[in-house]
């Protein structure tokens, strides 16, 4: 039983990374109808940026404001930088290609993904990097008999807080209504006076910003990062997005968390090597039996 709960906690942690990345996919897909293949690589960029800050300047910063302060400071910078990168990607790679249609956008997105991934390799090298133990809080304790680390609790806390904030913004605020309207019908939203450009700017800042923080937390959690980690995480997070219902914000969160838990249980009880095969089979099965995902709504095509 305790292994079960351990796997569950582990799955929740991984799932919260997926959920944060999935939120970015989902928001961008909602407004642009585009699978932002670069999103996973922005996640990796966040991890590497965090690594650099923590291993270079952070030696001093951490010494002055403590290990937790250092982490918070790093997360802030990572969020801002990756958000800026996200906006830049939209400006340079998507906006000029948008009129040429969705297939061109897919190629453009793949091009950016390849560019970012290989830029990371050119800057940080092709060998994996490891976060030094000194920057990662090592506090661990037992919660109701289950061993958890302070880092796990922090990651879960931050992730849930961020998800809740996004959910509140998208579902409750006026600007959130603008986002949802743009996602439903971009043209009508424009006609109704919604500044869709502002919405696009916002989702391309917020999505990658969250993804970057998730990348940093992922690095701290596993301690090792590699330049091509974006492909795999991106793919998983996108799976999570579909699982929850693409373009649906709470769906992305539920999809991410569920995927993390399913993965964790599969590798704990079935087989680690076949885990991903099952995940993709699950994805295909869901698309066959419930193509709109768990929370997606059915839309009929008008003939």
């Amino acid at each position: 039983m305790s292994t079960f709960i351990e796997q569950l906690v582990n799955g929740l942690t991984v799932g919260s990374f997926y959920a944060l990345v999935a939120l970015g996919y989902s928001m961008v897909y909602g407004v642009m109808k585009l699978i932002n293949f670069a999103h996973g690589d922005l996640f990796a960029f966040g991890a590497y940026l965090g690594y650099t800050i923590l291993t270079s300047a952070a030696g001093k910063v951490t010494a002055s404001i403590g290990i937790w302060g250092g982490m918070a400071f790093t997360a802030g910078i990572v969020a801002i930088c990756v958000a800026a990168a996200g906006v830049l990607v939209e400006r340079v790679a998507y906006r000029p290609v948008y009129p040429s249609g969705r297939l061109s956008l897919v190629v453009s997105a793949l091009g950016v993904a390849i560019f970012i991934q290989n830029s990371i390799m050119a800057i940080w090298g092709s060998r994996p990097r490891a976060f030094p133990a000194s920057v990662v809080p090592s506090l661990r304790f037992s919660l109701l008999g289950i061993p958890v680390t302070a880092l796990q609790i922090t990651i879960l806390g931050i992730s849930f807080a961020l998800m809740f904030a996004i959910w509140m913004i998208v579902e409750k605020s006026t600007f959130g209504a603008a986002i949802r309207a743009s996602a439903l019908d971009r043209e009508t939203a424009t006609l109704l006076g919604i500044d869709v450009r502002k919405v696009i700017f916002f989702v391309f800042a917020l999505g990658p910003g969250l993804g970057g923080v998730a990348g940093l937390m992922n690095g701290l959690y596993y301690r090792a990062i590699s330049f091509n980690m974006g492909w795999n995480y991106g793919l998983k997070a996108f799976t999570a997005t579909i699982l929850g219902g693409i373009g649906n914000i709470p769906g992305a969160m539920i999809g991410g968390l569920l995927l993390g838990i399913v993965e964790s249980l599969l590798s704990g009880y079935v087989s680690g090597a076949w885990k991903d095969v099952f995940v993709f089979l699950l994805l295909i099965a869901i698309l066959i039996f419930r193509p709109t995902g768990i929370l997606g709504e059915k839309t009929a095509e008008k003939v």
Binding site: Y29, K33, I35, V92, A93, P96, V97, P99, S100, G101, R102, L103, S104, L105, V106, V107, S108, L110, G111, V112, A113, I114, F115, I116, Q117, N118, S119, M121, A122, W231, L235, F238, T239, I242, I246, A273, W274, D276, V277, F280, L281, L283, I284, L287, I288, P291, A300, E301, V303
Partner: protein, 617 residues
Amino acid sequence: MNVSKSLLDRIGAFSSKSGGGKPPLRGRRLIVASVALLMLFPLLPFIDNYWVDVGFYFGIYALLGLSLNIVLGEVGLFDLGHTAFYAIGAYVTAILNTKFHIPILALLPFSALAAGLFAWLVTAPVIHLKGDYLCIVTIGIGEIVRLTMINNPFGLTGGPNGINGIDTPNLVVPIISSRQFYYLIWAIIGIIAFGLVRLQRSRVGRAWNYIREDETAAEALGVDVRHYKLAAFVLGAALAGIAGNIYASKQMSVSPESFTFMESSLLFCIVLLGGLGSIPGTMLGALAITVFPEIFRPFAKYRLMFFGLALLLMMIFRPAGFLPRLRESGETLRAALRGKRRLPAQAKNDEVQATPLAMAGQASPLLEVRGAELSFGGVSAVSCIDADVVRGRITALIGPNGAGKTTLFNLITGIYKPQKGKISFKGGKISGDSPHAIVRKGIARTFQNIRIFPSLTCLENVLCGQHCRGSAGFVASILRLPSQRREEAAMLSSADRCLERVGLAESADRLASSLPYGKRRYLEIARALAAQPDLIVLDEPSSGLNDGETADLAKLLLSLLADGVSILLIEHDMSLVDMVSDHVIVMQSGRKIAEGAMCDIRRDPRVIEAYLGSEED
């Protein structure tokens, strides 16, 4: 699925300039020159084995590109897992060769079959998914295949290290040297490209393009969308399997790392770089993908970075690709059909019947709707409708917006299935049939919001209607059997007549997207006529037309009736209904409220209330 309109428009703008007449001589010369260059390349004095190998891998990518082009370029299905089929071909060859020592070239058909069969098995359950959903499934399939290879099930795939010690092929002489491999792959590509060009110009190739342009319209005009989509996947996968076979024997080993998602993305880029559905374009795309890394080899560390950038720039500055597919004129199609051998003179009755069967004075109505019901999530769109369409009459269906008229049309044409009730046509039940089967039985339609195939020529648009009257399949089209050539010629002349009928003969070679709005309506009618229907179903044919055009439309409808085509139309323009209809059915809120001749309908209090509101309102 609608591949971006603007992209198609761009392709269109390109080809409308060069349309008409024979294929440009310059183009033909370029093709001859490139084939000659490809054949001579390994023999050039300054070309060493390294570059011959580069030429070989260019061939592998060209073949893979052509195979994906069928799925992505011709049919417009987002396939980002195409490498899976390539991997299946390579592993089937590797396993059967190393375990049972079957010669490589004998395994070539096996690899193709295995990849094709695999494609059929995995895509059949998901083929109905649209756009990005299908895309993500193909990514999933690609990953499942790669991970399975790594996991070494039953010790078959050799795990992460793969399988070593694969034989080299033996074609009269053993094929070992770089040059021999080079010629082997390019000879195979030559044969395949030849077949693909013939497919492009056939009923099959056109059916693929109709699906890419507008899946719903293709199905509603008689194309078995599911069949052709699956066929594209199976054929594309089989060709990728062939590439896998040759690749495995050249490498003498296979390993999972050759079949990553990155590889699938590259193939996707090849097709888009070249130009959707363009065979020479795909070759050029493959060339770019293979040669680019070679040129940037000195900057090994940065070359993929540059590559990503190049993809991006290409999509910004030339989104339609290097060599977008040009649509061929009717003349070219006919010239290609005639070929060198003349067809034996044919009997007149070989021609596909141009006019529908003569009407017989039958008592039973042509179309009978009995108690049809359909509701969407509790909202009843059509409830308990009885309606008849009598042969040799124009029946009009009128009613306020939201009355359920179009829904009833969609029930009749099979796009929706009635939840209750029965629809029969010519005495046989049609409710429950798929739309393309209903077209074959003799009901063709037009759409309220025009759905033509924008980036195809008007002639090709109309040929879509003829699709269900032909039968030539893959084999007949590739071999260009006499029966296929006869059928094709008959289809072309029948399509010509339909265009003439609606006054669009002059525009046959123009792209449909270049037609003005009013003419697009006529093109839709011509397309429906080409299906040789007994009943033609028109959804608001006069909407957007001015008075003069509406009067012309009325004349056309009456002349169709004179030819024996019965007509059912939805119409808001009461003057048109008045002019042409013999019988009027009035609907409101999903129910039939009145029926009869127009003069009676006009006085019916329920109809007046439905249109003007009751006095109490």
